[in-house]
């Protein structure tokens, strides 16, 4: 299974394109690393692929079928700032169950403690929240994970832990990963292929 983005162009303002004819293909058994400078449009590409931005040109297909925009989006984006993606008045178990109820052993591999389930998002740290948002995105309907700088705020040990369990789960369940980062060393460890995202548009 492949996720193909063909000739994607996108601009926030008229005549100032941020993405110009970008094509990328993500297989479901690999981790594709995406590297680029700040402001080069990495996050915009992520948002386009996972359906957050709609007025782009080009096509995004999974196995030659266009993504259905009404139902569950098979390409799930994980944000850099997990605290923004959680309703501040929902306790963590509710936040998690908005997507699905993961089995206990999966919670253990991601290091989710039982005591965290009854807390508010404001009572957990960024790293703890990010585990929730990753696990939340691993719904059985998810076919691709778009990880937009998901480990930037974590220390190195936790980074390794989280990426290990994420890649492990995705390899087992045939979920493709697009890992976005500007950390070259991290991408060299986790990614099978690295795509360099050059800032050609702004010349």
């Amino acid at each position: 299974m492949y996720l193909n983005a063909n000739n994607i162009s996108f601009s926030y303002r008229k005549n100032k394109p941020i993405l110009k004819n970008i094509s990328i293909s993500i297989p479901d058994n690999k981790v594709i690393g995406l590297m680029g400078d700040s402001g080069s449009g990495k996050s915009t590409l992520c948002k386009v692929i996972s359906g957050y931005l709609n007025n782009y040109t080009g096509t995004i297909t999974i196995d030659n079928e266009l993504i259905d925009k009404t139902g569950y989006c098979p390409a799930q984006l994980i944000f850099q700032h997990p605290e923004k993606t959680m309703n501040p008045k929902w306790k963590m178990h509710k936040v998690l169950s908005e997507s699905w109820n993961p089995p206990q052993e999966l919670k253990d591999t991601f290091g989710l403690k039982e005591g965290w389930m009854n807390r508010w998002p404001s009572e957990l740290s960024g790293g703890e929240l990010q585990r929730f948002s990753i696990l939340r995105a691993l719904n059985p309907n998810t076919k691709f994970i778009i990880a937009d700088e998901i480990s930037t705020m974590l220390d190195t040990v936790t980074q390794v832990q989280i990426w290990d369990s994420l890649i492990d789960y995705c390899k087992k369940n045939k979920i493709g990963i697009l890992a976005v980062s500007h950390d070259k060393e991290l991408l060299e460890v986790i990614a099978d292929n690295i795509v360099l995202f050059n800032d050609i548009n702004k010349l």
Partner: protein
Amino acid sequence: MTKTEENKQGILNINLRTKTLIITGIALLILISVFVSNYFIDHTAVLTSNFYNVNQPPSFEHWFGTDWMGRDMFMRTLLGLGISIGVGAFASIISTIVAILLGVFSSVNTVVDEIVTAVIDLFGSIPHILLIILVSLAFGGGYYGVVMAVGLTHWTPLARILRAEIKKINTSEYIKLSNEFGKSKMWIARKHIFPLIISQIIVGVILMFPHAIMHEASISFLGFGLPAHEPAIGIILSESMKYLSMGYWWLAFYPGLSLLFLVLLFDLIGENVHKLLDPQSAQE
């Protein structure tokens, strides 16, 4: 920790949440007892004149003194406060309904949003008292007129808050994520947006009470509000004006103080409910 603080904690071993709940409960109890007492007071017996004890200063028999017709001022004040609470309640409900409708409308699209903002600004720009008097007269005056006038003029701050709040929630990332999870708009409105704005609505309603009560009293004082035979605080105050120069200070002092106390109680309840509903301060 100093010694006095230690002692304090030892005697009253309760946290801030419990303390806030207790204070709110007591304030609510006072308000409810004032309101309910209206139904147990025999209006005709209290409001008939008794010329044997005219203009008595405050005593144990007549706590707030008596007026120039020998009526007990405590009972009149109590009835006046009951009317104030009634007007406040009806007016707050009307205001809140208008505010919610406009807040929800504004989230439809940008054109509607512009219109709603313009309407809010329009109503906000007219002087309150003037608008209240005009609307009250348009509805034929009396109790009904005052309720409609106060209700139809006090929704602007709450509508503004709700509009901003709904806008903020709608553009947040957890709503977009909810869309990604395939949830319907109704589901998002019910599970995400409504629980987040309900606390604003509740606090808004409670904090609207003091405003409504004060405005009811002021237009009654000016003579455009409730009819003169009602024992409203505004009427008590305006009538007592004539007797102040004769030294009958209790005619204005106690009713005015009671009105202030009532307003402060509502304010206190509103602040405390806000504290309890806000997730940042609720667990302190």
